[in-house]
């Protein structure tokens, strides 16, 4: 019960004080109020593993680099970095004079500490741990043999060297969240509920479960801003309630969920206060050739890809808040190929192709399920009805619980499914190397092409951006050219922003930190 006492003490103490102080000085204090649709599953940068937690943590912790409003990578805690001549490492030059929220100077030791904490099996390191897979000695820590990360060397306070087992040119842009190596010593294992150990523009204050996560301005922030005093993430499970709270001026900024986009875009007063940005999320139709023999014929795959109308889906299912996706890198993500045309809707050609492949009018096609989760029910109903009507394909819809569906897809056991993949860092390699690269555990439709894989291997070792993007485009053309998948649509993110709030940056990667926000 030690922890329990500590947490309730924290609640009774600092939460109340903060809230009272904020309330008392409400006349001057500027608090940006925005919504998250559930409690974050964690508020610490080590176990961090989900979107909502990322919305909060991204304001508190920072990595070597950040992205700007245009989606370009910019230096953050690293001022610069040099690639090693053998392409198997980087030397990072850290920004001097950065203080953590604990008042210590941010140094190379903090970098090494964060990496080791992510890999330590006792910590259940979250999403960011996988970016360390190529670092020399990472496996030894994961296996529990040591806690020292051999491949990371602290040269001096502002210089740290990272060595890899194989080239990993994108390492500098991975979105790490560095933390002060004093945190655990200062406040114990549950430090993240009591103190804030990042370098970001906002400082963690309190988390009232079910109600809010409160951050205050870091007045010592090294970068721009913050111009406001606090950010309050109000936990609002219902998207509809969030929009109502915005209308009643109880929220200043709302990130809209899929269900409330309709209401926003159809209400002129709300639509006027909305901003949009494409999501860095590919969507595709997975066709597993091992499980459904007709998919081995390129003509069948093409027929499937042109048998449904992307624009009709966008208008009918997404309220227009989407656009057709041509390739498997989304706009706004480095390496996007603007020259690629979306696949057309061409029922006549689709029927002809299918007949050519030996299945006229769908005759002879074995039955198949199109599978997804409950939130995608309308999508798969649409696909199934189109494929039945246009191609005569015997398609049944199947809804599976999310966790099981992901497990089945990862195991390569789902024949036909629409799914998506959201970029974790701002580079097209994320999509191509994780979803379509042969050996990737997330290659869920098991599409495989040696030439594609070779291009991805080459891209991983190509430090020059333009040259690397060219490799992406080549690889993507192979994937799309042989109809390895049908790209479907890109979702538009919709957010509401009050007119008196300026500097909110909605990018393909959700909101950027609120340090540029001003409230008039």
């Amino acid at each position: 019960m030690k922890i329990s006492n500590r947490i309730s003490g924290l609640k009774a103490g600092s939460a109340l004080v903060t809230v009272l102080v904020l309330a008392a000085s409400a006349a001057q204090a500027q608090t940006l109020r925005t919504n998250i649709n559930a409690d974050p599953a964690m508020v610490d940068p080590i176990t961090y593993s989900e979107l909502i937690a990322g919305d909060v943590i991204g304001n508190i912790y920072e990595g070597f680099t950040a992205i700007n409003e245009a989606g370009d990578v910019i230096p953050a805690l690293a001022e610069s970095w040099d690639a090693h001549d053998d392409n198997l490492g980087f030397t990072f030059h850290l920004r001097p004079g950065v203080t953590t929220h604990l008042g210590n100077e941010f140094t190379a030791d903090d970098v090494k500490y964060t990496f080791e904490a992510l890999l330590n099996p006792e910590n259940q390191g979250g999403l960011n741990a996988r970016y360390l897979a190529t670092v020399v000695g990472a496996q030894a820590i994961t296996d529990g043999d040591t806690t020292d990360l051999e491949g990371v060397r602290v040269i001096d306070d502002y210089t740290v060297e990272v060595r890899f087992n194989e080239p990993d040119v994108l390492f500098p842009i991975y979105p790490f969240y560095f933390m002060d190596d004093d945190a655990v010593e200062t406040a114990g294992d549950e430090w993240y509920l009591e103190i804030s150990a990042g370098t970001g523009p906002f400082v963690f204050e309190t988390w009232d479960r079910g109600q809010r996560v409160l951050l205050s301005a870091n007045t010592d922030y090294w970068g721009e801003g913050p111009y406001i005093d606090a950010v309050e993430f109000v936990i609002v499970p219902s998207g509809d309630t969030a929009v109502s709270m915005f209308e009643a001026c109880e929220l200043d900024v709302v990130y809209a969920d899929a269900a409330s986009i309709r209401r926003i875009l159809q209400t002129p007063e709300l639509a006027e206060q909305s901003i949009q940005a494409p999501a860095a999320q590919i969507r595709y139709l997975g066709m597993n050739q091992n499980l459904y023999e007709p998919f081995q014929d390129e003509r069948v795959r093409e027929a499937v890809c042109i048998a449904f109308d992307r624009q009709a889906m966008i208008d009918g299912l997404y309220e227009g808040a989407a656009f057709p996706l041509a390739g498997q890198v989304t706009p706004g993500v480095a390496g996007f190929n603007a020259n690629l045309e979306p696949m057309p809707y061409d029922p006549d050609r689709a029927q002809a192709l299918l007949a050519e492949a030996g299945y006229p009018g769908g005759e002879g096609l074995p039955p198949i399920n199109i599978t997804s989760t409950e939130p995608n029910r309308n999508d798969i109903l649409y696909f199934a009805s189109q494929l039945q009507q246009v191609l005569g394909m015997p398609v049944e819809v199947e809804i599976v619980e999310r966790g099981s569906h992901i497990r089945n897809m990862n195991a390569g056991e789902v024949a036909f499914f629409p799914w998506g993949w959201s970029a974790g860092y701002p580079d097209g390699l994320y999509f191509l190397s994780q979803v379509w690269y042969g050996p990737s555990p997330y290659n869920r439709s098991r599409w495989q092409n040696d030439q594609f894989d070779a291009l991805i291997d080459q891209a991983r070792a190509t430090a020059d951006n333009e040259a690397r993007y060219a490799l992406y485009n080549q690889a993507e053309e192979i994937l799309i050219g042989e109809y390895g998948t049908c790209p479907t649509t890109v979702r538009m993110q919709v957010a509401l922003v009050k007119p008196e709030v300026e500097g909110v940056r909605l990018t393909p990667f959700r909101f950027l930190p609120f340090n540029t926000v001003r409230m008039n």
Binding site: S4, M42, T241, N410
Partner: protein, 312 residues
Amino acid sequence: MLRYGVGRLLGLIPVLLAAVILTFLANQAVPGDPITGLLSDQSGDAALEARLRAAYGLDRPLWQQFVDYILGVLQGDFGLSFRFAQMPVIDIIGEGLLISPVLALSALAIAFPLGMLLGTIAAIRQNSWVDTSIILVLVAGISVPNFALASFLVYIFAFQLDWVPVAGWGSFSQAVIPITLLVVPTSAYIARLNRTYMLEVLRTDYIRTARAKGLREKIVIWRHAVRNTLVPLLTTVGIILGGLLSGTFVVETIFNIPGLGSLAIQAIFARDYPVTMAIVLLFTVFYAGINLIVDLLYSAIDPRIRLGDRTA
């Protein structure tokens, strides 16, 4: 009376045990598994899966998980949450522990007298325009779904009149709409019941006698008739409270109130079994406790009922 109370409390033990067993089994039967949920995109990583299963004790046989769970609960340990990284369940539920019961009881405290009043008036004015209009209102109150009524109340009180905030928790004004939402169908239900009981009571001999004695109508109704409708009404309080508690699930989710109801919804969707189980247990205790109090109240209201006293 004391013996009766103690007996009833002992009777709670099998009820709680049954609740735990049912919830435990239901959690197993629900499609999905907390670890594949936790793994999400990383499912397929067998080493990580094994590590997580061991960390949460899910690698033990089912019967042992159950026994360990019961032993833990007896010592006040409800285990670790699956969804909230490494957080004890007791910390998570502790913060919102009383919110749902407070909501439900406040609603009951308003709905009960309100329903009695409406039902009584309708009954004594049977078949008049007063009766008809009350019945119309009651039918509406019972039939309109609470989420629809919620939008309506928010529109009127938060937007048009600007009296209360749209959502949130912590101040009196934030509780107004949620409690109203619970009061409306509950008071309508109580009023309809009470109207029926009252009509029956009004036809009984003792009411005729009271009137024949020349008692004023007010005394006949409010002292003799109402008191006799109380006993059958009280028996329904348990059922009503069950409805109110499940109503808090919806109301808390709509108005982001951090009570056990909204937490239960989150926990169920996240397959966070330890949290779900703890909430079910707490609600069972609360519900059973209220029913016990109601039973004890019978004898206070109706002296003819002597609880557990077989010799009388």
